[in-house]
């Protein structure tokens, strides 16, 4: 019993450990970068890794903490990315300071993703069952199609938007004034974006995300959400409003996905909506599941390793996805192996997982 008690209080240590690990990793990578150890390719991966870490943390809130499946999380990322690009490109002249412009873009991206999350949650979170998975899956595809027929430009008069549903319109139809420029060109996606995302910004956003998610879990609202996941009927009988608390968790989750999207979108000069397809959603889900449901540090590590791995294996060209698949299978086998689990539990002083076989 005393051992179990120690484990329970170990959660607090794990809580701070996550911040320490992220900060240490950031410092290490920064020094390596300055020392010239990282090659160009690795440098290019830094911001996307940050984005996928935020995505994994955000999806872990939905899947691990709330216990609902979201199969279209890339859709919210996409919304954030294109909102961020439009806002940032429109403000190039008005707000020359890149850091301030990035903050404003993140704010707008987050709000749009939050609104989308709220609108989706409104009907779906009332239902019991896997409906959230179905609806978010559809949402991801719909958003992709909508952005594919979106043509946006900006000139001295402001932002011009046309929907190119029939496919007969082009940038010329925007009737931009002199000095205006196209921001999103339909299926070609965003072009000519000024890249203002930095590794430092990515690090700050990861820390903010961690702060929000970890504090959320350990607050009154977070307890209500976990209670609903553990036992919906009991939670209702304790007076916990299921719809309300699921909604809060889901909106926070989509907001953070929007933030990740803005960072991602502003890291590349060009980006298409197809980038945020079903595969991306599943990729993030793989990070979450392999990192451990509800385990934030696990999500961060899984996102880092599993995102860099296929890129690092690029020299093996044809075999890289094969190796990736083998690694996935090995991780799954390892994390489900009782002997290995027991061994890890012995080694890890910050163990927070309870021993299995709860009386139910």
């Amino acid at each position: 019993m005393s051992k179990l008690k120690k484990n329970a209080s170990g959660f607090k240590l794990n809580h701070y450990l996550t911040y320490i690990v992220v900060t240490a990793a950031f410092l290490a990578v920064t020094f390596m970068n300055q020392g010239g150890i990282l090659n160009k390719k690795m440098q290019g991966l830094l911001v996307p890794v940050c984005c996928y870490i935020i995505m994994a943390l955000s999806l872990n809130l939905t899947v691990g903490i709330m216990g609902e499946l979201s199969l279209g999380h890339a859709g919210f990322m996409s919304l954030g990315a294109f909102t961020g690009v439009v806002v940032s490109q429109s403000l190039v002249d008005t707000v020359p300071n890149e850091a301030v412009r990035l903050c404003i873009s993140i704010l707008f991206g987050a709000v749009i993703a939050a609104v989308a999350g709220f609108l989706i949650g409104l009907p779906v979170l009332r239902l019991r069952g896997d409906y959230l998975a179905i609806v978010t899956l559809a949402f991801g595809e719909i958003i992709m199609d909508i952005i594919n027929c979106l043509i946006v430009g900006h000139d001295s008069k402001g932002v011009h938007i046309i929907f190119n549903f029939k496919g007969d319109k082009s940038v010329a139809d925007l009737n931009l004034l002199e000095g205006g420029k196209a921001i999103i060109k339909g299926a070609q996606g965003a072009v000519g974006t000024k890249t203002i995302s930095t590794f430092f910004a990515g690090f700050v956003m990861i820390m903010i995300t961690l702060f929000i998610v970890q504090n959320f879990i350990r607050s009154r609202t977070g307890r209500a959400v976990i209670a609903i996941r553990d036992n919906r009927i009991a939670a209702e009988s304790m007076g916990v409003n299921v719809m309300k608390y699921k909604m809060i968790a889901f909106v926070i989750s989509t907001t953070l996905a929007g933030v990740a999207g803005v960072l991602y979108g502003l890291n590349f000069t060009g980006i298409t909506a197809v980038k945020f397809n079903f595969n991306t959603s599943i990729l993030v889900l793989v990070f979450v599941v392999l990192g451990g449901l509800g385990n934030m540090l696990g999500s961060i590590i899984a996102a880092t390793v599993l995102y860099i791995l296929p890129e690092a294996l690029r020299q093996f060209s044809d075999y890289r996805m094969l190796i990736y698949a083998i690694v996935l299978i090995l991780v799954m086998l390892a994390t489900n192996n009782p002997q290995l689990k027991a061994l890890l539990q012995k080694i890890n002083p910050f163990n927070k997982k309870k021993e299995g076989g709860a009386v139910q």
Partner: protein, 282 residues
Amino acid sequence: MKKFEKGKMVPVPSMAIIPERDMDSPPVLECIHLGIEFGGLKAVDDFNFVIGKTEIAGLIGPNGAGKTTVFNLLTKVYNPTHGSIMLDGIDTTGKTTVQVCKMGIARTFQNIRLFSNMTVEENVRVGLHNQVKYSTLSGVLRLPPYWKQEKVFHDRAMELLSIFDMQDMAGLYAGNLPYGAQRRLEIVRALATNPKLLLLDEPAAGMNPNETAELMENIVKIRDTFGIAVLLIEHDMKLVMGICEGICVLNFGKIIAKGTAEEIQSNPEVIKAYLGNNSMEG
């Protein structure tokens, strides 16, 4: 606690089993012709029942008699197809489980439904959810209300756990507790919602005779300390006959007898329903 409104007072039916101390106060719970049908099967039929403000009432009956269904009707897990439920004189028709909980009905479950991935203290804190409040924003940003209210959460949770001497288990995961402790924790968690009526579904199931005796004392203690009514389903006749002031016997969804322990024990209908012979133990 909500004050009872005089105008909505419900006349106490003459058949009510109410101890003398509750004579002047209106009943906390009144079921009028309550019933539910599942596709033609009348699980509960014409259930008329009244509980006084500080009464300990028992609901007994053979397996499948509809006892837990009555609890599910009271807490709105099922919506009744007939009749109505008055809680403290207020009709609960159309209310949800959450609203009924806020009005003052708390329950435990026959098959324990704890939040097994949470600690004992966190379980009680979920019970206190509507008693102690702060906004999500102050929780996420760790603003002063968070620290102040979390301290209240902790103090109240510990106070409630002390009823069953469970303070030193506060940090354990609820799923790892022994069976008896899990049952006790469910009662504590239900009490945390500040109820007027506590529904206990087989609180002594799986407990040994010593634990059961202790539980009997504690149920009476809870009633006296909190001044609430208790309705319990139980198969342990020693417990039911020992502490219940009024007993209601259910068979095939219908009430076959109501009365005090002595009246029930000598009721031929009850004996027939249970065993067909003279013994009440079983």
